[in-house]
Symmetry: C2
Subunit: 207 residues, 2 copies
Amino acid sequence: MPRKKEVVNPDTENKIKEAAKKVFLSQGYEGATVRQIAQEAGVNVALMNYHFQSKEQLFKSIYMESFGAFFGSIVRLLNEETPLEVKIWKIVDRYTDFLIENPMIPIFVLAEHRKDGNSLFKELNVREVVKTSYFTKQLQEEAEKGTIRPVNPLHVIFSLMGNLIFPVVARPIISYVGSLDEAGFRQFMEERKKIIPEMIMAYLKSR
Amino acid sequence: MPRKKEVVNPDTENKIKEAAKKVFLSQGYEGATVRQIAQEAGVNVALMNYHFQSKEQLFKSIYMESFGAFFGSIVRLLNEETPLEVKIWKIVDRYTDFLIENPMIPIFVLAEHRKDGNSLFKELNVREVVKTSYFTKQLQEEAEKGTIRPVNPLHVIFSLMGNLIFPVVARPIISYVGSLDEAGFRQFMEERKKIIPEMIMAYLKSR
DNA sequence: TTTTAATTTAAACAAGCGTTTAAATTATTT
DNA sequence: AAATAATTTAAACGCTTGTTTAAATTAAAA
């Protein structure tokens, strides 16, 4: 029986993980097959289980990694000690770049998340992180000063995320409707770097 | 070989379709099994193929129906001959209600769409419908009049859709982070009915 | 260099998949 | 009431799935 070892071949493990990431992200858990992953990695199927015990365990490592990248970066940006407006521009800029480089992560995470039921959020204590985030405090303070309208931070955060993420998730739709090729879509995303912060700030400052 | 018939039992077909919708929407195509659907419908597995020929064909009928509901309603609203600002409020109001009643449709359509490659869009000629929509014309006219800033309609449409759809797709996340129950989430969505149009209009009118 | 451990593979495994067959049942027509 | 057609089912089909076994190969330790 293949027990946990101290010494492993990291090259092989990386090859398998890269292949698994590619296949899982495009096909989902049920859509992916171990033989597909093995072929993509150029190894025997049995070797996959030798290194990762099971398809499910291999999937989990990919899922957690993607999940962390998906939310980790935005949570980190929310907590930076930058003035509110600067921060919003920065979040949009950085997260757009992240999404352009990792376009498959959002739909993968969101689609898989409908099955797993928030266990990862509890593990990462996302609730407290958001509630006590510097961003939340900033919105309250600025509202008290009267420089922006009072607002539930959750609405701002999910407006930001919706505006950022939806175009990537719906990319084939946008590309088709707008007749955009690879470069055209990139241009579209670059335009959003200006539009999204302007829209959020226009709302916060209005009235 | 079971050929297409003229007379069928519509009760059975509906039972199977309802069950298939429930299972496909929550599990996706690969995640769903014909035995699961049959059990949910309370019929034998063979009966499913008797009425729908194959799992794939049954899926397609569910997918096309969902796809049509997902985009059809918004395209219809875009083409209504209502003043711009009224229309935006109306789109948000109606589409929010649609999403509250059909929360599984967006993630289902988006997740499945990453496999099918726009064939349905071409079939429905979505591109021309959007380009020649009354909404697009309105944005141009108002910009010429100077009542709003000039803007690429695609950005407005996808900002609207992102703001509307993302919270539903990420509902478990919102519910967890905001400690919201069923009623709390509904309240959150009701609040967005005000916030989203205000945000879009604040952007269009600013500068 | 011999021995031992780690890695990789080919082949087989049981279980579950979508589908089909052929018989039983129900509804319709004659 | 008898005959025919439509519907439903139990059971089996062939195939693919994830996993395991046992042998072969490579690397490390003695």
